[in-house]
């Protein structure tokens, strides 16, 4: 018995090849005299397709219901109930995956990678909320998105985010979107999924770092309304722009605004816009000059941003596994490091030429360089437009919900006296 172990060791040492060998049968399958039946490995199947379609159907129903509840019924209670349902179904039951936020990356990947085909259910998850937003505003955010739902549910003591911070923080969401598109387009990584802060809560498990991130974000969310939705959500960036164009929109008052100011502090997300004040002529002229300057600065910002994004290609390219491997191999080859990693030894065992690896890494870097122009240019464009946006005022006479920022949570309705009239709670009130 012992000798056979040594013999096997000796033979085996001679026979050891790099890596694991695909189905080398060193020992021929036995001929059982007793007629022993060979069992088969079990192959439990994944979630049936039909359930994926059911998810899409539930999404469609929830979107329709949310739009109805926000625009027609205007009931905060009903919206909250739907929010809790979405949290339970899309959040805890489906464990937050697949979600429209992440589906963005799948769509981008399918555009840039011919070999990847996005499943139709995933495409539906991406498109349905966008279509509903084009018609009804951000009703998806109101009561359907599980990430928004969990933040909405823990919001207990809303604190207003100062104006000057609001716009700047939102730039982060654009950067996040740009980065997500860049990394998905280069087939490097799905960063939205990797850093999803709430999915670990839905799964009740995850890496320690992500769990800590979740905890912090939820704790912040107790005081600052929906921090992820307002300042980080990359899908929310798309929803903002589509919501600006929506056919129907969320109004605080059911019919007309009497400018009673009672709804000023109603929105925990800072989406209520006050009527614009009249300016003096001189202020107007100064503002016009500033606007002209900022419009001229816009292409400069775009170019600067694009150049910065492209020059970061060596850093961003490290998001791709091949580039990381090539860099590690390079460090080993030039003697900067003396030991190997699992990845580098696995690569060496394949026998692929290192020059080819370097070529592949260089071409991936070039793609990141090109993508960086778009990424940086996009961030520059957004920053420039925001600066312009902060210099322009719409003539506003009523208290309105900001078309892009309003999350349709329906909290503000009960602050409006006109709403109380509609619900027959008080007698008619005139301004």
């Amino acid at each position: 018995m012992i000798r056979s172990a040594y013999v096997i060791t000796g033979i085996a040492v001679l026979l050891v090849s790099c890596g694991l060998v695909w189905a080398v049968e060193r020992f021929p399958p036995p001929d059982f005299e007793g007629g022993h039946q060979l069992p088969s490995p079990t192959t439990p199947h994944p979630r049936q397709d039909i359930y994926e379609y059911i998810d899409v159907a539930v999404l469609l129903a929830a979107l329709g219901l949310a739009s109805y509840l926000v625009l027609k019924k205007r009931s905060r209670r009903a919206i909250f109930a739907l929010t809790v349902f979405s949290l339970l179904y899309f959040g805890f039951w489906r464990e937050g995956c697949i979600c429209p936020v992440g589906a963005t990356q799948n769509i981008v990947l399918s555009i840039f990678d011919a070999a990847y085909v996005v499943p139709i259910t995933v495409a539906a998850f991406f498109l349905l909320p966008l279509v509903f937003t084009l018609f009804f505003g951000r009703t998806f955010c109101a009561a359907v998105c599980p990430l928004g739902a969990i933040q909405d549910v823990v919001l207990c003591r809303p604190v207003a985010v100062p104006n000057w911070a609001e716009s700047g923080l939102r730039l982060l969401a654009y950067v996040y979107l740009g980065a997500a598109v860049l990394f998905a387009a280069t087939s490097s990584a799905f960063v939205i999924c990797r850093y999803d802060p709430f999915i670990s809560v839905f799964r009740l498990t995850g890496s320690l770092n992500i769990l800590i991130l979740s905890g912090c974000l939820l704790l912040i969310g107790v005081f600052i309304g929906r921090p992820y939705c307002r300042f980080l959500c990359p899908y929310g960036v798309i929803l903002r722009q589509l919501s600006r164009l929506s056919r129907r929109r969320v109004t605080i008052t059911p019919d007309e605004c009497i400018r009673c100011k009672l709804c000023e502090d109603a929105c925990p997300f800072g989406a209520i816009r006050k009527p614009a004040a009249q300016w003096s002529g001189q202020d107007y002229r100064v503002a016009k000059k500033r606007l002209a300057l900022l419009v001229l600065a816009l292409p400069v910002l775009i170019l600067l941003g694009g150049w910065a994004g492209s020059s970061l290609k060596a850093v961003t390219a490290r998001g791709h596994a091949t580039v990381r491997l090539a860099e590690r191999i390079y460090l080993e080859e030039t003697g900067v490091v003396t030991d190997t990693t699992d990845a580098s030894s696995a690569f060496r065992a394949t026998g692929k030429p290192i020059e080819q690896l370097y070529k592949d890494a260089s071409s991936i870097r070039a793609r990141f360089g090109l993508g960086g122009w778009f990424f940086g240019g996009f961030v520059g464009l957004v920053a420039g437009l925001k600066l312009i946006g902060l210099s322009v005022w719409r003539q506003r006479k009523d208290y309105e919900a900001d078309r892009a920022s309003c999350l349709a949570c329906s909290r503000c309705f009960e602050y409006c006296p006109r709403e109380h009239v509609r619900l027959n709670k008080t007698k008619d009130i005139k301004s």
């Binding site: 018995m1 890596g19 199947h45 399918s110």
Partner: protein, 188 residues
Amino acid sequence: MAEDNKIINRRHLLKDGLWGACLAGLGMVAGSSANKHRKTDTVWQIDPSICVACGNCATYCVLEESAVKCVQVYAICGYCDFCPGYFELGAAALEPGAENELCPTGAIKRTFVEEPYYEYSIDETLCIGCGKCVKGCAAFGNGSLFLQVRHDRCLNCNECSIAVACPSGAYKRVPADRPYLLKGEDHA
């Protein structure tokens, strides 16, 4: 007044135009993805010809108990009495016991069939997917033990954390109706 109306009308036209363009854009995205004709969803699976049994599958899964387990393809197994996936290299005796076995959780069950053949099967409730038996079997045996993602456990994350950490890039997206890459099968 008329001027104002004109400006407002122009603005409305612009807005409507943009709205229509967005809707058309979404329609294009819908059309192109439907065109590529993927009926089923994809799931993650390990290609055993690329896997190097590094042990990351046991630690990088988002689930505390990894969805990756070792499978045994009995048709390839040599039923050796000195199984290099069961016994540690240089084991003192070919007897079951913590001092001789490779598996840290004791998930491999060894049953006598007939002289000199033993059948080795994996208890999935104990296997953690560390790949130690896989390494031994591939280096010195027939390679009938290898790691596979078990789809009754896998959450099918959009980005598999183990796929990211895999040093040899063995993780692939496979169609959900053929979710396993078992050795000895045809892999188109």
